[in-house]
């Protein structure tokens, strides 16, 4: 770890510490893991390089996650829209999923991850996709359409307070605020 410490300039490191919820060790570990994803010749300047989405998804922490594509999409700042990640994007992601992030910011990003079509609300389609991710995509694990309908109806009845047929961010955060487990389960640690 000492070797990689010298690769991030000191002031940059302290800046990262200030802007994210991560500790110095976590940042250094993230740097190490991130540069391992890069091809050898690019490792020298890992801070400015971008890692493609397929590379990011080889991380064991994300490999099996059913929301992996959404996570990449939400945290990527790629200009071409290919969901590739820079080191700072990577740190952003780890910061949100870290232990010390507030549950406010966690729920904010959880909402964005669950918002599959990026329209700022969770509508029926989003919920359907969410449930499919939760139960797995296989043939036998899919819910029947009647069950799905019923389930989404239940979800909306409980959490859609203004009765507009969708769940918005504050409604979502309200649901999350009543689930004390959320902060401990919405967590990815390297």
């Amino acid at each position: 770890m000492g070797g990689s410490a010298s690769l991030i300039p000191r002031d940059l490191l302290s800046e990262y510490q200030e802007l994210t919820f991560l500790s110095k060790q976590e940042i250094l570990l993230a740097y190490k893991r991130f540069s391992e994803l890069l091809p050898k010749e690019e490792r020298e300047n890992a801070c400015s390089a971008r890692v493609s989405k397929s590379q990011i998804l080889t991380l064991p922490e994300l490999r099996a996650n059913p929301f992996q594509h959404q996570i990449c999409h939400v945290f990527s700042t790629s200009e071409s829209g290919d969901d590739s990640m820079s080191f700072e994007d990577f740190l952003d992601m780890l910061s949100v999923f870290s232990d010390s992030a507030t549950s406010d910011i966690k729920s904010h990003y959880a909402f964005r991850i669950f918002d599959f079509d990026n329209d700022g609300i969770l509508d029926r389609k989003d919920l359907e996709q969410l449930v499919n991710c939760l139960t797995g995509q296989g043939e036998e694990s899919q819910l029947s359409s009647a069950e799905m309908e019923q389930l989404i109806q239940n979800i909306l009845e409980e959490s859609d307070i203004d009765k507009d047929g969708t769940i918005n961010l504050s409604e979502f955060q309200h649901v999350v605020s009543r689930s004390p487990d959320f902060a401990s389960s919405f967590k990815i640690v390297l």
Binding site: D11, A64, F67, F114, I121, L134, N168
Partner: protein, 865 residues
């Protein structure tokens, strides 16, 4: 009053801007501009929308993509401006509440989409650039950004760092905001003509960062650096980190919490071992007498024989004052013994208390969790990364969803009188049976132990037979502890509880009763029978008993996890499938841990090195349990089902550890130290009337020295004075009562807020969508929206602060003023009204809605005036 007035005043003048934060802060901390004292968890009220459109770099914002349709929106300026001042929590809500009004809906979209787009802002404007909207919004939004920067600049360093961390923004955006804030600070300090101006000139922007770091107060910085180095050291030592991560990744958070608890106990034992070893054992080594007993190997199990003359037991310790140098500093063994144990228990008490309080406060809301389906929204455990485990979790969720769907469809069962009577009778019978078993187990243990003592006293030999006899008691106790829980769970199945939660809690209660009564009867035996027997050194006997119990319990735990979990899983999955797949029973396993820890605590006084043995045992249990769980995962067994909720689990574990276990141990230790007569011929307290008499003697000695008069004074006036404790406890009672009242008030407030949300949602769903033609009316609606939003975020931020509650009431007041066209002219009346309203809320009108309550209070206030 002043405070309320301030609240109100600020609240009204800044109603739109920062209305969540500023009045609250400024009223609390005066006008110093320091935003200190906000709790960390409280959502930082930074108007996020202000960061959005129109800030200097989002001018090149491509307003297309998923949100592209908004570019055609007519008159965007009208709909934008008001919402850009909303709290980050709020703006999406506008969309929700005005479900019918198309324009408002769109603006809600835009505001939210801004926050979404912001991330994409940096993608080049490869799409059409919408002039109309961004031109219009530039001005107000710039102001907003300035406001944000200003408010950040006026915070203290720590606050600011936290606030920036909490922004749901990308790194680059956060950095930009931070740099702006730093510039602002530099500017300000220049204005003030601070001394640092000169050295800053010319390099203001470039060196902003370094200046910033020098600005932050020095001690804080160095403290932080020290903390960093410390955590760096710990990071190297953190063997657990990886193991726990793997466990979390494979078995999910609920099993992880068992291991976290185990690790917590392990650390506690390491700590107590170090304390005891350092302060009791090492000095004893210096004064040790040679041990002339032979070691045969069987002693490892019985703890007797050779070990009797080692530092393992109380009896070996000397009562002398140890000093290596003549007339040099000496070490009083008696005092060391009693103070080490005493201070250790005080520290344990504090640790337990604080961790319990921490967990309690963390899930204070959890009792109100009544929703089921929406739980799905936050149910995914992102810790799990093992592919097999992911599949299993998905399968579990799938069956859970199906079960809950069928449950919803089922009619609520109505029982006839006969059925109900039968049900109650079964419960009663089951309770009788379980209590009867517990009593029977206790009686068995009691008679066995008395018999054991007789045998022991009769032939005090070291042959194989007597040693085997010694092991009978612990084996029987462990057998009872292992087998009776199976009987209890069988009883539970017979009873047919309505919910699985009930089943689990009843089973756990019964198991706790069983274990604690067995420990209780053993304590009675030790303190009342062994202590009065004519054995040479009863403390050592007790210590040996506890040693054997701990050891046999550990062996049973290993056997249990091997046969009960490991083998059964293999048989259950390969040979006979109808046995079913056993789950990892977290409740039972945790109770075993608590039982072992209780024994260790009792044993500390009689066998100071017991924590060391327990430490090794826990360490082995940790890895054995990990392996059995791993095998079960590989065999596609079920991970534990939903019934245990992670956040509540740690709370109840620690509560169980505290309430029957630790408090019981404290009373046992108390009786031993104050009441019982130590043995005459062994141990540090030989010859004294009680262990505590050592402290009394010490105080007597201290009285002759003038330098230590204060110790004597403290002892007489505080520690041994009833009056002091009387005053202390009455003060405590008063404080507790006050807090209790505050909690009651908050509960009422929470109820009201909830009711109000429900009312509003009901009314909003009742009202059909309608177009709002002219502007003033729309403004009114927006006002409604904003107060609704405020209410909403209050509910999100529950538990509410009292200040919050007050603010809410104040706002209610203002609303009333507007709605009823009251012409009070002066605002000075409002504090009165607010307090009246609060009184009305908390006392009379619990059942009434807030508006009515406030109205009543308003009326009474009018009368007063």
């Amino acid at each position: 009053m002043d405070f309320l007035f301030c609240c109100l005043h600020r609240g009204s003048s800044q109603r739109n801007r920062f209305s969540h934060q500023t009045p609250y802060d400024s009223s609390l901390h005066g006008s110093s501009g320091e935003h200190r004292g906000r709790e960390q968890n409280y959502p930082v009220a930074i108007p996020m929308a202000s960061l959005g459109p129109g800030s200097d770099y989002s001018q090149d914002l491509p307003r297309t993509g998923p949100y592209g349709n908004f570019t055609d929106e007519p008159e965007p300026e009208e709909t934008y401006t008001p919402y850009s001042t909303f709290h980050m929590l709020d703006y999406p809500y506008i969309h929700g509440i005005s479900s019918g009004s198309e324009e408002v809906k769109l603006s809600g979209h835009v505001c939210y989409s801004d926050s979404f787009i912001r991330r994409r802002n940096r993608r080049p404007p490869d799409e059409i650039f919408s002039t109309s909207s961004s031109m219009f919004e530039t001005d107000p939004v710039c102001n907003e950004e300035e406001d944000l920067v200003g408010s950040l600049a006026s915070m203290s360093t720590n606050e600011r760092i936290k606030a920036i961390q909490k922004m749901p923004e990308t790194m680059r955006k956060k950095r930009e905001i931070r740099n702006k804030v730093l510039k602002e600070i530099t500017k300000k300090s220049k204005h003030r003509g601070a001394q640092s101006t000169q050295c800053l000139q010319g390099a203001a922007v470039v060196s902003a960062r370094s200046f910033y770091s020098s600005l932050s107060s020095f001690p804080l910085q160095s403290f932080r650096r020290f903390g960093n180095t410390l955590s760096e050291c710990f990071h190297q030592l953190r063997l657990w980190h990886k193991t726990l991560k793997i466990i979390g990744a494979e078995f999910g958070t609920s099993v992880l919490s068992y291991f976290v608890f185990l690790k917590w106990l392990l650390n506690l034992n390491i700590f107590s071992f170090l304390i005891n070893f350092g302060f009791i054992t090492i000095p004893q080594f210096l004064a040790a007498e040679p041990n002339n007993l032979s070691f045969t190997g069987l002693e490892v199990f019985t703890g007797a024989g050779y070990f009797q003359q080692t530092v393992l037991y109380y009896g070996f310790y000397t009562n002398a004052t140890i000093s290596k140098v003549e007339n040099g500093p000496s070490y009083n063994m008696q005092l060391a013994y009693i103070f080490t144990v005493g201070i250790y228990f005080v520290i344990c008490f504090l640790i337990l208390l604080f961790s319990m309080a921490k967990f309690f406060s963390r899930n204070i809301n959890s009792q109100t969790f009544s929703v089921n389906a929406s739980k799905l929204l936050c149910t995914w455990d992102f810790n799990i990364t093992n592919e097999k485990a992911v599949k299993l979790q998905q399968k579990n969720l799938h069956t859970q969803i199906k079960e809950s769907l069928t449950e919803v469809n089922k009619e609520v069962q109505n029982f006839s009188v006969m059925e109900r009577v039968a049900r109650i009778a079964t419960h009663l019978l089951a309770w009788l049976a379980s209590l009867g078993t517990a009593v029977a187990a206790c009686a068995a243990v009691y008679f066995l132990s008395i018999n054991n003592l007789k045998l022991f006293m009769k032939g005090y030999r070291n042959d194989l037979e007597s040693q085997a006899v010694m092991l009978v008691l612990p084996v029987i106790v462990s057998l009872l502890n292992t087998l009776i829980p199976f009987f209890f769970s069988w009883l539970g199945h017979l009873e047919k509880f309505q919910t699985p939660g009930q089943h689990i809690y009843v089973t756990i209660t019964r198991n706790t009763i069983l274990k604690m009564s067995i420990v209780g009867i053993l304590c009675y035996y030790w303190l009342n029978i062994v202590a009065t027997s004519e054995s040479q050194c009863w403390e050592t006997l007790v210590g040996q008993d506890i040693y054997r119990l701990v050891l046999v319990d550990f062996i049973f735990c290993l056997l249990g996890s091997f046969f009960g979990e490991f083998l059964r899983r293999i048989i259950g999955t390969t040979v006979c499938m109808n046995l079913g797949l056993p789950e990892f029973d977290i409740g039972r396993n945790v109770l075993d841990l608590i039982y072992a820890q209780t024994l260790t605590w009792i044993g500390i006084l009689f066998s100071p090195l017991l924590p060391g043995i327990q430490m090794i045992a826990f360490f082995i249990v940790f890895f054995v349990k990990k392996v059995t769980n791993f095998v079960s995962l590989m065999r596609n067994c079920q991970p534990p089902r939903k019934v245990w909720r992670t956040a509540q689990m740690m709370t109840s574990f620690i509560f169980l550890l505290f309430c029957p276990s630790f408090l019981g141990v404290l009373s046992v230790i108390g009786v031993t130290v104050w009441r019982l007569k130590p043995s005459e011929e062994c141990g540090p307290f030989r010859g004294l009337s009680s262990m505590y008499a050592a402290v009394d003697e010490w105080i007597q000695i201290l009285q002759s020295y003038t330098a230590s008069k204060w110790v004597v004074w403290i002892y007489h006036n505080l520690i041994s004075s009833e009056l002091f404790f009387f005053i202390l406890s009455s003060v405590l009672l008063v404080v507790i009562y006050l807090y209790w009242q505050i909690i009651q008030g908050r509960k009422t407030m929470t109820e009201l807020l909830r009711k109000q949300i429900n009312n509003r949602s009901a009314s909003s769903s009742r009202q059909p969508a309608q177009e709002v033609p002219d502007y003033p009316e729309r403004a009114f609606e927006r006002n409604q929206n904003s107060s609704y939003n405020e209410l909403w975020s209050l509910a999100v931020a529950l538990p509410v602060d009292l200040v919050f509650a007050l603010r809410m009431v104040t706002q209610q007041c203002q609303e009333l003023q507007q709605h009823q066209h009251l012409t009070f002219g002066s605002r000075a009346i409002c504090p009165l009204v607010a307090t009246g309203a609060l009184e009305g809320l908390s006392s009379n009108s619990r059942g009434l809605s807030t508006q009515e309550g406030a109205g009543q209070a308003l009326d009474t206030n009018l009368h007063i005036l």
